[in-house]
Amino acid sequence: MRELSWWLEWPAGVLRVGVVFLVAVALLAVVVRYPSVLDDIDDTAAQNAALSYSDREIAGGNGLVADQTAAHAARALIPKGDTYHVAVNPDFSAGSDLTVRYVDSWYRYFLMPRRPAETAPWVVCYGCDLGAYGPDAKVVWQGSDGISIVRVGP
């Protein structure tokens, strides 16, 4: 054990007390937070493990796509080398508040390596006006909430 004077002498002792105090504060913060952080990590790991394959695959898109099957159908139907367009009716009401503004961005990630294009042979339609794509437009998949996948042209 150190003598008391070792901790009280000026200025070295005061510096030592200061160093020990700050290390103790950091250690205390770790000790207090460690169990809750560990619990939190365990809970998140358990939640992730309990996800269905589809929920994990869609992930951030779950708040956007309105219907998971539409995303999977788009992947299954649109060939990898093709282009597509996501057409969203501004009045589309299914999904969340974010769907109308951001669902096309999410498809851009999810449908890679298919590229988005303004005029494309495939349209992922969120309540869009199918008549706008001409008489050759063919609905190849129809889901709930007015979501469909359309093949445009021959």
């Binding site: 070295a12 200061g18 460690y34 992930a59 890679m112 390596p113």
Partner: protein, 459 residues
């Protein structure tokens, strides 16, 4: 997540590690195996920085990015560095038994406590979906584009948000996809977990040179339990990765200022080069780091400034190709819309700076990190350890002012801590992580001087 993906990631990260080890062997050499083990984390990060920067520069100049390039670059780095090490006469490290001391026991307890948290984070990472907005919005799509098309597809890249962001992180992700055999965005989180493990190892290994274990390990554990740091060591975004590069570069530059060992500045330069290819903020952080170094070493300016000038030149050469690429393709630039130096919006100046300080001092984000760092700064000054106090204190201050400048200079940014509206919380992660690295060094300096003062008085 599949065993195949994890095996591929393991192989890729082994390549990073071998590349970094070869670089460290070439620029510094290893005396013992225990010293090599201590520096494994730094080697890992140097491997990522060097290999990743090389891949990125080759991609920008039009070399197709595929599995051959993914394998060829680290192989070339290993062979080149090994030949260089041989020419410099660096031998193979030898075994030296480690004696069990009290500090060894403290370090072992710290490593075990960190290991338990990291194991938990691995379980989170291996089955995590891609939830983070920026991750699915542009970081991962860029990586998928590089993986699928083998180049920087102009139409696709320029249509994405953040299109002027440098592509190092998407390149690293694309390399991970090649190693996994497919764009497995679930297992990709494990790559970021590995970045976290490597960073903690690198930081602890570097600091252990100068910091006693009982001072060091509470702060290494604080890295993991601080709310907005450790819990993010699996998120597939570039912010924390950039912060890790920045903090390791800062520690290396500080060591170089202190002992003038050239390998430290070389390693720091490799990390800074990766920083400017990682995010737009990387340029700002490198500039602030070099300014802090110049200020802290003002008395040795004849030695320091020419060498820092070389660092600036190297980093500028690395940064230039990407800037040329995006300007050539009509992407708007990285600076604020009103220009870098503007006197417009002066009414936003003080609120912006105050916002940056509010974030810095928030215990909600960083726990006790910043108050403890300020205490350590005061103790270092009392102990007359002026240079580390000026360097680290000055750098944290500069980064905070830099955060304030970002909000001030971009009038579109609302003055808010809201993550979706203003990047200030992300940016200030660099300052907080720096505090966690600097505090043990400052406390060790104060402790060392207190001990030296007594011995001096006794002698």
């Amino acid at each position: 997540m599949t065993a195949h993906s994890l095996a591929g990631l393991a192989a890729l990260n082994l390549l990073y590690l071998l590349s970094g080890l070869a670089i460290l062997w070439a620029v510094r050499g290893f005396a013992t195996l225990s010293e090599t083990a201590r520096l494994l984390g730094l080697a890992f990060f140097l491997g990522i920085a060097t290999v990743g920067s090389t891949w990125t520069l080759l991609l920008i100049v039009g070399v197709p990015f595929g599995l051959p390039l993914v394998l060829l670059v680290p192989a070339a780095v290993v062979v080149g560095a090994a030949v260089f090490a041989g020419r410099r006469g660096h031998g193979v490290p030898h075994w030296k038994a480690v004696t069990a001391r009290r500090s060894t026991i403290v370090a072992a307890v710290g490593i075990a406590a960190a290991g338990v948290l990291l194991e938990g984070l691995f379980r989170v990472a291996r089955l995590s979906g891609l939830y983070w907005w920026d991750a699915w919005s542009f970081w991962v799509p860029k990586a998928e584009a590089i993986y699928s098309f083998g180049d920087l597809d102009v139409g696709f890249f320029t249509s994405l948000p953040g299109s002027s962001y440098p592509p190092l992180v998407p390149v690293l992700d694309a390399a991970a996809f090649h190693a996994m055999g497919r764009p497995d965005v679930v297992s990709l989180h494990v790559q970021y977990w590995l970045f976290g493990v490597g960073f903690l190892w690198a930081l602890a290994g570097l600091l252990a040179e100068r910091v006693p274990a009982w001072i060091l390990w509470p702060f290494m554990l604080l890295v993991l339990v601080a709310p907005r740091i450790g819990r993010r060591f699996f998120i597939t975004e570039a912010d924390l990765f950039l912060d890790c590069l920045f903090v390791l570069a800062a520690v290396l530059v500080w060591y170089w200022l202190r002992d003038r060992e050239r390998w430290r500045l070389t390693a720091g330069t490799l990390l800074m080069s990766a920083m400017v290819l990682t995010k737009r903020e990387g340029m700002l952080l490198v500039a602030l780091l070099l300014v802090a170094a110049a200020i802290a070493a003002a008395r040795d300016w004849r030695f320091v400034l020419p060498r820092l000038g070389i660092v600036v030149a190297v980093v500028a050469v690395v940064a230039a190709p990407w800037r040329i690429w995006y300007v050539r393709h009509g992407v708007s630039g990285e600076g604020p819309t009103g220009g870098i130096f503007t006197l417009d919006n002066l009414d936003r100046l003080w609120p912006s700076i105050r916002l940056a300080f509010d974030v810095l001092f928030s215990s909600v984000y960083w726990s006790v990190t910043v108050p403890v760092a300020i205490g350590a700064l005061v103790l270092a000054l009392l102990a007359r350890a002026f240079r580390p106090a000026i360097f680290f204190g000055g750098l944290v201050l500069l980064v905070t002012l830099g955060g304030g400048w970002i909000t001030w200079a971009i009038p579109e940014l609302p003055i808010t801590q809201e993550l979706g509206g203003n990047p200030i919380v992300r940016f200030m992660g660099a300052a907080a992580l720096l505090c966690l690295a600097a505090t043990p060094l400052l406390l060790a300096s104060a402790w060392e001087r207190a001990t030296a003062a007594r011995e001096g008085a006794g002698g």
